[in-house]
């Protein structure tokens, strides 16, 4: 009858906080969280046992625990690449369906520079044999195949 459903309402209000985590990275509150929990790939880490219960709740909402989906928040937000100065190559969801670190976990593990920007990768050249690809060791044949797939994805992107 149009009465507010408190549970869904609560979720959406806290979802706004997740959204602000993506936008307001300079704010004092973000820096406090960053110092306390650390940041990998521009994403705040989960607190685990030493996190406050508020933060653990928020992390659950961000990752969609108890809803039957993984990484709900990350998978349903996308970055639109402008000049690539703010977008992380591996972590952000900017090409294809998912972030590249999830699409090509093997390559991600082998990459030397994990926090590089899209813009840097383009400058160094990500086409075949470009200098952008720096690996920890020589790649196997099937891994080379992966790289080719990956370049195909980003092939028609012009920054």
């Amino acid at each position: 009858m149009g009465v507010r459903r408190l549970d869904a309402f609560n979720l959406s209000l806290l979802g706004k906080r997740c959204w602000r985590m993506l936008l307001d990275k300079e704010g004092l509150w973000y820096r406090v969280l960053k110092v306390r929990y650390g940041e990998v790939g521009r994403r705040l880490q989960e607190g685990g046992r030493s996190g406050s219960s508020w933060w653990n709740n928020l992390c659950h909402i961000r990752s969609g625990v108890g809803e039957g989906v993984d990484n709900r928040f990350d998978e349903n937000t996308r970055r639109v690449v402008g000049d690539g100065h703010n977008t992380l190559f591996w972590f952000d969801n900017w090409v294809g369906e998912r972030p590249l670190c999830l699409q090509f976990p093997r390559l991600f593990n082998l990459a030397v520079n994990k926090e590089c920007l899209v813009e840097e990768m383009a400058r160094w050249g990500w086409k075949d044999g470009g200098r952008a690809w720096v690996w920890r060791r020589r790649l196997f044949a099937w891994e080379e195949e992966n790289v080719r797939e990956c370049t195909l994805l980003s092939h028609n992107i012009v920054l």
Partner: protein, 309 residues
Amino acid sequence: MGSVISDSQLAFVKGKQILDGTLIANEVVDEAKRLNKEVLLFKVDFEKAYDSIELLYLDTVMAQMNFPTLWRKWISECVGTTMASVLVNGSPTKEFHLERGLRQGDHPSPFLFLLAAEGFNVLMNSLVTANLFNGYDVGSTGEVKLTHLQFADDTLIIGKKSWLNVRSMRAVLLLFEEISGLKVNFNKSMLTGVNIYDTWLAEAASVMHCRRGFIPFVYLGLPIGGNLRKLSFWKPVVDSIMAHLSLWNNKFLSYGGRLILLKSVMSSLPVYFLSFFRAPTCIISFIESIFKRFFWGGGEDNRKIAWIK
């Protein structure tokens, strides 16, 4: 506006929210609890904040911030030419000039108040650089040091446990009163701490001439440092809903009237709590069951049949 106001002020500036302050305070208290750090928290209560700002001081602050002279003239014209007269036995007295006080409800007032409160921020920062006050380090790296949070006149001072801090807190507040006219109400202010002995805290509170508070305490309308899973944490929300229920004797309202009341009043009561805290399922279902019973016409203890879901 955002460029002259420091990070620790969270009111009326674009891109900042009241909940940011709650968040920071909550994380600080929680971290101190978990890592056994000693934190001193002092919640400041300003007496009639808007009405007691010295206008001359406001002008000085704006001059320090390099506002152009013409602009300052406009502002002092706007706020400084107020006349007032008092009704004595029904007849107005002669009009006189007001020397302090911003008018509430005036559009630029909140922003002017921010400028005035910025003076407090400057004072705190100079205390820190002079090593007279030790802020609280978040994390272990010491990258972020917190000394105070401000939301308009709601100020929270955060520091390490030391007598020096207690003394300089009192000194800085008295000094601020002297220059700005904002008087601190020490009786209503509250000193509390995490991992600090009661006796030490009580002694410090008596030095400050203020009350001594307990964790969880309320800052900006939300409890800080409480346990989300406890029923007592959510008691204020449930109580406010209950208070509305008992005021409206629902016998005299039709179904339609009750529905409107439910939709427009009751369901917005818990919004502020829910916008920061994740409510446990049992609390949500408890509140919803109160709503349902109210709608279908049951009282505090008798239930009625719910005809549709």
